[in-house]
Amino acid sequence: MAKEITTAEIPEDMELVYRRPESLTAAHTHYCPGCTHGVIHRLVAEVLDELGVRERTIGIAPVGCSVLAYYYFNVDMAEAAHGRAPAMATGLKRVSPDKVVFTYQGDGDLAAIGTAEIVQAANRGELITTIFVNNAIYGMTGGQMAPTTLPGQVTTSSPTGRDVETAGFPIRMAELLGGLPGAVYVTRQAVLDVPGIRRTKKAIKLAFRTQLEGLGFSMVEVLSTCSTNWHMGPLEALEWAREHMVSYFPLGDTKVTDAVQALTKKR
């Protein structure tokens, strides 16, 4: 592990411009080279730091590639059963209303096996924040078709490409959840380039502020890549996602209530 320098060790003629957020641990992640989970983890951690809520935040990790997220976030965390993170977060938040509770879920977890739990938690307006990482594939089990796999996309369980006649269509969760009255802030962002990463961070911050203000359920869907299971280099994967995913999963807000909109005007 690389040695971390302390503030006192910084030479006088140098300025500290970038460091690990306090809300991330120093653990090396298990993520594949080119994976965007690391970027998204960092954005969430930066937001928790900036909002000053690390010491009262509780995260719920999913089953999927980010199953070990509890080693990387420097906050209290639980590991849910596959798809059940929103139910676990609900139970936890209801008995700990002063805590900041978030779920971090992938597409198989949230949009297939856990559809009931996320829809119902959103519809109840649970005061939790969901970070939904959509990379159009089951990563951890080795690249099977996900609920978000694009039409024609080849995976290990759709070897001739996703056939919508038999496998149905990729599901647009931000649109689905945005239509529910309990969900007050739902947006889809992408970490496929630097401007997108900046917009994603802004959205994550607004989602947590929505929770802190007690306004209702908030979710940020983040379009992401999976170089390994897409069988592409990292740059090629980013390009593929920009070209193919964004057209099926359009970026932008699917729900912003007036109360949430008002938050964007005050700092």
Binding site: R56, D76, M77, A81, A87, M88, G91, R94, K99, A116
Partner: protein
């Protein structure tokens, strides 16, 4: 506190409230729905959490979440609903967070019916979920015991950081009889939650509640710890009740509703000159194995009576290890065996034993 006329299901819910339960998450299913309904009215009155979930799968995971936060929490359901909770129960068992669960059993398999049944004995004591674990399982035979065992379930669940389940059936859940509720315990303030709980990593390292241990040696270490805990429970928490066993040469073994019926059978059999006793297991897990092994050397034979096809009888036979004949009588589908059904079975056993020269 004086005795009141109480309905079993409502009494179970009120007992939990008196025991300081902070949150209830559940889903309607007959014949336990009155538990949920009682909580829906009383929890808001007490300023506590009630939430009707979208499914039993969600209910048990809400319980898992609240238990991870160190809150005193429970759910209740009936047989098909418990099947849906099995995934969550396995995670809770491995994560070692305390949780209390009620199963007001109904006839099965499948949708079955809503009549009283003990068809979930195997599920409760042996096949609760995937992986190696047991729950503490308490079986009341009347409304008073249902109240008492709900309170006990919370104490045991928290003492051992495990799952405690109270199993009954619609006969107990929907019957009204006089019983006494315990005094109201104060609810533990959120500031006094256990040190392992998820309360925010303030001034300490983060706490993690997980059931994932990727290394074989790591998971085996957890397994060994869980098994050591289960052995401690088995050593310290076995409970059963006995009726007329001192001089008995025939023994009835039955739990719950039919255990209560068997108390009548003992009286009637004794009136007919048979020296019959009854052992009524209160903890189905851990099972009163040692006591039954001891009685197997005293009696000529045993008759196990259940409202299923013969489930607990397997544990009785394991305890007896062939030391005396063990016969079984059971009814299924929601039929409660009555004394007139059971007495001929006892007489048949008696005659069989005499024919074998075990007069």
């Amino acid at each position: 506190m004086a005795k009141e006329l109480l309905e079993g299901n409502a009494a179970i819910a009120e007992a939990a409230i008196r025991a300081g339960v902070e949150a209830f998450y559940g889903y309607p299913i007959t014949p336990q729905t009155e538990v949920l309904e009682h909580f829906s009215k009383r929890m808001p009155e007490e300023g506590r959490v009630f939430l009707q979930a979208e499914s039993e799968i969600a209910s048990i995971n809400m319980v898992y979440g609240a238990a991870s936060a160190g809150a005193r929490v429970m759910s209740s359901s009936s047989s098909p609903g418990i099947s849906l909770m099995q995934e969550g129960l396995s995670y809770i068992a491995c994560s070692e967070v305390p949780a209390v669960l009620i199963n007001i059993m109904r006839g099965g398999p499948g949708l079955g019916n809503v009549q009283p049944s003990q068809g979930d004995y195997f599920q409760a004591v042996k096949t609760t979920g995937h992986g190696d674990f047991h729950m503490i399982v308490l079986a009341p035979a009347n409304v008073q015991e249902a109240i008492d065992y709900v309170v006990l379930a919370f104490d045991l669940a928290e003492k051992y950081r495990t799952i405690a389940m109270v199993v009954a059936d619609g006969a107990i859940g929907q019957m009204m009889e006089p019983a006494e509720l315990p005094p109201m315990r104060p609810v533990r303030p959120p500031g006094e939650r256990p040190s392992w709980a998820l309360t925010g990593a303030k001034g300490r390292k983060p706490n993690i509640i997980t059931s994932l241990y990727l290394g074989a040696e790591n998971l085996e270490e957890v397994n060994l710890r869980l098994q050591a805990k289960l052995r401690r429970i088995a050593e310290n928490e076995v409970r059963w009740k006995e009726h007329d066993t001192e001089d008995a040469d025939l023994l009835l073994v039955a739990f719950g509703t039919v255990g209560r019926v068997c108390q009548t059978v003992v009286r009637e059999a004794r009136r007919r000159g048979m020296k019959v006793g009854l052992v009524r297991p209160v903890t189905l897990w851990p099972f009163p194995t040692a006591r039954l092994a001891e009685l197997a050397r005293q009696v000529r034979g045993m008759l196990v009576v259940e409202m299923n096809a013969g489930q607990m009888v397997e544990d009785v036979r394991l305890a007896v290890e062939g030391a005396c004949p063990v016969r079984f009588y059971g009814r299924m589908g929601g039929v409660i065996p009555l004394p007139d059904d059971i007495l001929p079975e006892l007489e048949k056993l008696d005659a069989e034993l005499k024919a074998q020269g075990r007069g």
